[in-house]
Each structure stands twice: as C-alpha cells, then as structure tokens.
Assembly symmetry: C2
Homo-oligomer: 384 residues x 2
C-alpha cells in the first residue's frame, strides 16, 4: 500500500457518486510519494452496493475510473453487500499478486442519504436472504436485534454492557475530522437513546451516510521507490457463511468471520496477540462483540467484557474503531471496507494524529457483508 485518500463522511452530500469516488482516488494518488512514471495506475476496482438501486447508476467501475482521469484502464465493481469495499481490495490485491499489474487503485464509495429513508432501508435489506428475510419485513436492524437478543439471553448479560463499544467509537471520532459524528456518548446518553428495535438502541447502530475512500496498491518492486515507512499487505482473506440467519448452526458464532480470520492469520504468520489494532465491522455493537470472539481476541461470551474492561481503547489490549469505526466515523456501506484499510494504514505509518495507537506496526481490518455472510480480513504490516 503506497497511498491513501478519503473524503469526510457526511450526510446529504450534493455531489454525484462518481465525483465522490474520484476525489478520494485523486487524494490517494497524490499521497503516493514516488516518481510519477513508475506509478501510473493500471486498474481501478470500486466497491459499491447500492448505486444501482439508489442512484440509477450501475457500471460504476468504468465511470469512476474515467472521472478520476484514468479512462482506458481496467475497471470494474466488486459487490459483497456491506463488505463491498474490502471485496474491491481483495480484487486489487489479486491483480497485483497475479503479476497482471504493478499499480492499481482500490476505491469504496456509497451515497445513501439522497433518497428517502424507507427506500434506503429497503435497499440495504437486499443484503439479506431476501425471500426469507427482507421480503418478510426484516431489516438489518431487526436481524441484528435477533442476534443481540440471543446473546443477552444465552450469556445472561446486561444490555448496557454494549455501551462501551459506542462510547469508544464516539470518543475516537471526536478527533477524526473525516468522521460523521463528533459527539461524545456516555453511559447515560447510551441508556437514554431510544430503542430502535428491542434490544437495539440507537447507539448500538451505525448511521446511514455518504462517503468514499481509496488506496493505491503496488508490487513490491514499485514500492521500493516510495517513501518510508512502507506498508505490506501481509494477508488478504475472505470466507462466507449462509446469508440467511435461519441457516446458521449457531447464531452466536460467526463461522465466516472465524474462517476468514484464521486464513488471514495463517497467511501473515501471526495470531491475535500480534495485532496492534483491529478495525472491526461495528455496524452494530453486537457485531463488534461477535467479531472479537470470532477473530480469537476473546472466548465465546467474553468479547463483551473487552469493552467493559477498557481493553478496546487506543491504549488497550485490542484497540478497535480507532478513528470512530462504523458507529461514529460512519458506515457508507460500499465505502466502509476501504475506510477501514485507509485508517489502518494511517495508524501503522504513524499518521493517526490524536488517535494514534502507540507503536502500532500490525493492523487487522475486517469488513462484513450481511449479518456475517461474507467476511473479508486484511492484515497490514509496517515494514521499516
């Protein structure tokens, strides 16, 4: 990874989706410090989920490449619901690893706030097993409510313990200028926040918003000529589970996340104990907890306590949502996976400012489509 770019996550952005993506891509290209002739971009992979449904615009791949001044290069769109951004990263990674290209751009973009909320919620539900979930009125709030309720009942824990994840995310977003929400959450405001669908409170859920992020990947050879410190993609992994929650063996075990994490650890030759920060997919606080458990940071039923024990903060055992996470930086769905990678890159290159995790050298990101159906895990490592 030799450069990153992002636009601030917002609501009500009055800009075409292609321009959002192009702005992030140009920022990423400008961030590359290397002789320009050696870093000509050869392909653009864009992660997006909703543009066809909400903006009447499919075919974003070619459109975004052209808008970014890269007409002619290979371009396509990757879709894996809310995991679309990291799916684009996976494609870009393979494009480099296969030897096809030396320099590619990975972009993630979503524009979700320009249509009415009903339409957006309905479009998001196309990430579910539609005939069995969405068509019956399930939304991602209600699906996560089922899973959170199961957690509460199975482990017999207090619902307010989930507050720690919202509090941490909002605290970190306060000092991230690219985050959507700049408002602290306390245990009191968490408990006062309305219940959207029992047991999910407003502060358990990530917001609908607009955003775009991008990064530049290169071969090791090209990376040699770029600035230090250098960042290596030590692992790129993906695994799946059933899309419908009724088909899971166990609602509280994210088997896709466990498999994806395991593959990534194997590739990078590391384990949870080597990870300095974990940008997890906190679309809902319950997903943050289950991800920590699936990725081996806590035993089943113990992920919740990492929050309560203060271990998820910037100086904790496993810092999460270090720039605000999906909860407070925001969750522009097709963009999220790339925001996570950009933030992880900023952390391990020492560019995270007030949000810096001390001595961070190895970062893991995990982007999830649906309620755990597609799970993409990347491990980034600082080289020097």
């Amino acid at each position: 990874m030799i450069g990153v770019g992002q636009i601030p996550v917002t609501k009500g952005l009055d800009q075409p989706i292609r321009e959002m993506a192009a702005t992030a891509i140009k920022a990423a290209m400008n961030d590359v410090e290397a002789p320009a002739d050696s870093t000509a971009v050869q392909a653009v992979y864009t992660g997006n989920m909703l543009s066809g449904m909400l903006s009447h615009q499919q075919h974003l791949g070619a459109l975004v490449a052209d808008a970014a001044g890269l007409r002619g290069v290979e371009a396509a769109t990757a879709e894996a619901a809310c995991g679309s951004g990291a799916a684009a990263m996976r494609w870009g990674y393979m494009a480099i690893a296969s030897g096809a290209y030396d320099v590619v751009v990975v972009c993630g973009v979503e524009k979700m706030t320009h249509t009415d909320r009903y339409e957006t919620t309905r479009a998001l539900a196309t990430a579910s097993d539609w005939p069995n979930e969405g068509a019956h009125g399930h939304s991602f709030v209600s699906l996560n409510a089922v899973i959170m309720q199961e957690y509460l009942q199975h482990y017999w824990v207090n619902r307010s313990l989930f507050a720690a994840f919202a509090i941490n995310a909002h605290r970190n977003a306060l000092t991230n200028p690219n985050a959507l929400l700049h408002k602290a959450v306390t245990i009191e405001s968490y408990e006062d926040s309305p219940t959207v669908q029992n047991p999910i409170r407003l502060h358990d859920a990530s917001p609908i918003c607009d955003g775009a992020a991008a990064l530049v990947l290169s071969s090791a050879g090209v990376a040699q000529s770029t600035r230090r410190p250098r960042v290596r993609v030590a692992a790129s992994a993906s695994a799946t589970d059933s899309v419908g929650i009724a088909d899971r063996r166990n609602l509280l075990t994210l088997e896709g996340a466990a498999a994806s994490s395991h593959k990534a650890y194997q590739q990078a030759g590391v384990g949870p104990e080597d990870i300095d920060l974990f940008e997890l997919h906190d679309a809902f606080t319950i997903m943050a907890v289950l991800s920590l458990e699936a990725a081996g940071f806590a035993e089943p039923g113990k992920g919740l306590w990492l929050g309560a024990d203060g271990e998820i903060g910037l100086t904790g055992k496993v810092p999460v949502s270090t720039m605000g996470g999906l909860k407070a930086r925001g969750h522009p769905v097709g963009g999220t996976g790339v925001y996570q990678l950009v933030e992880a890159y900023l952390q391990i290159t020492g560019q995270a400012g007030p949000n810096q995790v001390p001595n961070a050298r190895v970062a893991m990101t995990q982007n999830v489509g649906g309620t755990g159906a597609t799970v993409l895990t990347h491990i980034l490592e600082r080289m020097d």
Copy 2:
C-alpha cells in the same frame, strides 16, 4: 478451464436466481473429470448486473455459493454492466494466477423477465452514464441507434447489410438446445421486422431473457489430472472507454475494445489471423460490426462486409455467434460473458455438435459493458 455448465436461456423462468446459478455451477462441477479431492472448489465469483434492482437481492456471491453447496468458500459478485460475466471470469483468473487458489468457479447469472418490461429497460439503462443519458430517456436501444445511424451515414452503406449478423446468429441457434430463439431469420424477415428505434430493427437487437452459466478454473497443476483435451486461458484482458457516448472521440471506434483486444493478443502471443472463432458481443448488430473492426478482423468501415461476404459463418474466416450469440442464444446480461466462455470451450474441445467450427483450437470471447465502456477479452487455447 476444466469444466463448464449452463442452463437453457429462457423467458419467464419460475426459479429463484440463486437456484439458476446453482444449477449451472453444479453442472460445471460435474463436468470436471478428475479425482474429486484434487478439485475442491475454493472460491466462487458471480457476475450479475440487475439482481438488486429487479429481484431485491444483492449479496449474490455468498448466496449463490451456499445454494451450490459451497458454503464457506470465498465468494463475491463482479459487476461491469453487460460485461459482468467476463468481469467475474477476470476475477477468477486472477485468483488462480495469484496463487491464492487452485480451483475456483466463475458464474454469470441474470433474471430479467419476471418484472414488467419498463422496469427492466430502466434497470438496463443504469449501465449508461445515467445523469447524461438514462435520465434523459436514453435506453440501450436508443444509444445503439445513434451509433448505428452514424455508421450508416459515415460509410454510406445500406441498413439491410446488417441482416447478415442476425441471420447467422439465428441459424446457429437453431441447433443449440440452450439457445432462447429457435427460429430462422431471412433477409425478408429481417427487413419486415419492426423498427424499434430508427435505424434499429427488432432483428438488430438481442432479447431480454433469463440464464445462468458457469465454469471451473484451475491451476495448471490441477489441470494435469483432468481429461484431455485441456484448455488454457491464454489471455485475460480488460480496458475501458468513457461510459457516456458524448465523451467519445469517435463514435465509430470502440477504443476500449481495441485496447482490450490488443492486450489479449499480446498476452497470448497471437493475432486476429490465429483466432478460429470469435464470440463477440452482438447485443446489437452494430456492436458486432464495430467489435470486428476494433479487434482487427476488418478495417474501419469494413466489418459490415464480413457478414455480407459470408465470412462470419461456422466455416468462414471469422466465425461469430457460433451458438447463437447474444442475438439468438439470448442476452441474460450478467450471464452473457460466461455463456460466451462456455461456448468457446465447447468449440475448442470439439463438443459443439452441429455447431462445431472445424478444427477450432483458439477461441476469443469479448464481453462488453455499456456501449463499449468496459470491454473484457479472453483467449482460450486447446492444449493437446
């Protein structure tokens, strides 16, 4: 490529989209002749354009993998408008070439006939530059009409010369049981067919339909243990042009197709003269003509005459649409690119039956998104 599968292209199919894809995938997996333990599928890449808009179902990647009995493997969706199928192939190719996997499945699927025609046409127009084309009422018929009109005027040729492409496609479809249309077209029926949008007649356009096709790719090592003849993917290439036709330097030169073809020829170390058949993207007869010119089979303005001169038939200089093409096999958009690859495979392995191109050893496929904006070219070569 070690196995292929397809379902017959139809209209009004009463089957969920995931089952369509799963049927094609299972057929492709059953087509592999090798010890089963060496050909366990590790990833599924699905090409699709319209499912979110027409079936309320995004996230097809994981859904299709699960339906095909492959829950757990990596899965994602590739989208590049009508080029989505070959975009999935491109991803699968990179997954093997990068060394990430030894065996992957590539699938293309589209279900388009279950909603009303207006909705389908509108969804298809999301492949255009929406704010500048679709939103102004342009459809793919009208955009291709503009390009065809330009061709007629610029080269001062008779509109009826385009008939040869429809006649050839329909003739070949007669003996393809998987084709949608089994009805011969003559010069008379072509000229009698209604003008949809001047100068495009009904018989210049491909039909809206449902379909799914799949193939299995493996590393060279795994392929060693499979049946003969073996098929090598000698080239996999992609290039883009502007999505909007107003941004093209020249409406009659498909620059994306020329660049994509050139890359493919370079990779495979061949030229047009080495290609035994060319499965081109005849969504409209004008696209077939421009593709032949862009890929170097004819000089600009001369592609049309390959049809008139009888060179596009099964025994001609450059056989096209050998199983019916988009025009008569049908054009289930996200599926088309994979159907083309499946058909090319059947041709060069001598399994094309009455449609067999004599002594075919090298086949080229070209799948196009939009009116030439994303162009994916593959060259398949028979190894022994």
